[in-house]
């Protein structure tokens, strides 16, 4: 029963998106980009998924760093720069997806 609800909701969402994209196709000017709707969808999905995964990863990194500081408050000055470095590297993957989103967006 639950699975059928989820599937029907998913079907409605897919049909809505396809209809919106098709109507955007009709609304786009001739000679311009014909796939404006799909490109907007792609850009939104790219940054959305990247932000989702990136924030989960950064949450785990901060969790580990805060646990280390809580166990040993004297190591605060040593743990904190490494946490910032780790966060920046995780964030760089999200930034790559943002670049792709800017390249793709109509």
């Amino acid at each position: 029963m639950q699975m059928r609800k989820v599937l029907s909701l998913l079907a409605v969402a897919v049909i809505t998106f396809v209809a919106a994209a098709a109507s955007a196709e009709g609304g786009a000017e001739a000679g311009q980009v014909v796939d404006v709707g799909w490109r907007a969808l792609a850009a939104g999905l790219a940054i959305g998924l990247a932000a989702f995964g990136g924030s989960l990863g950064q949450g785990r990194a901060i969790d580990a760093a805060l646990t280390g500081i809580a166990r040993n408050p004297g190591a605060d000055a040593k743990i904190f720069p490494k946490m910032i470095l780790g966060l920046a590297i995780i964030e760089s993957l999200v930034i790559y997806a943002l670049i792709i989103a800017f390249m793709v967006k109509p």
Binding site: P81, I84, L85, A88, I89, E91, S92, I95, Y96, L98, I99, F102
Partner: protein, 257 residues
Amino acid sequence: MPHGVSWFDYIFTAMGEWRTRLQDLIGTSYIDRADISVQYIIGFAFIGVLLFALVLIARRKFSVARGLIPDDRLNLRTFFEMMIEGAFTTMEGIMGRKAARFFLPLITACLFIIFFSNFLGLIPGFTPPTGNWNTTLAMALVIFFSTHIWGVKEHGFIKYFAHWCGPFLKWWALPFMLFFFAIELVSHLARPVSLSIRLMGNMFADHAVVASFTLLCPILVPVPVLLLGVLVCIVQTAVFCILSTVYIGMAVAHEEH
């Protein structure tokens, strides 16, 4: 101020003909076939001139008779001393003292260029010269070629590339060696791309976020975003320099098995 225009454009409209000459001289970018806005070049040249002037001013304080004792206030000389000492301590932890002394000019050059370029972008009306892939790719390629050239100088050509073939160097493990070599090659090629795009993406996205918040409500709302921008600027310079140090350190290191 419309998108893509900075105060440098207004300075250079005074010399209109020189500007078109400069634009024709620079032409299109090799990377994305788009017209490079002149302001990135002018911004980068401005950073160069600014750094040169700042270093000359700071250097004068060293040659005073009591130049050995550092001041207790934050002036230009102590600012430079703080940054260079921080960079040297970090590099020494990664590369060892001798290599850190040798590579300190390269890494601190990158450090100061990126630091001042990022902060130039926070001033309203300027775009950061590092917000453009050409600038950051140039710096990342310098680091990339440094790793390989100094690695070859340190280890010798055959030995340096033999390290890429993996831990087993026997003839009967040739497919494994080739596989490992392919993985190492891809990871090495991805390094300058990742270094440059990380810096470019952070600066570009930060600038775009500040711009959109300013469009929303120019009164007080951009201030927290600008504070976040300050943090991003500092962290991105540190990340670039620490990663460059790690790459060069890994290329130059002598490992004792």
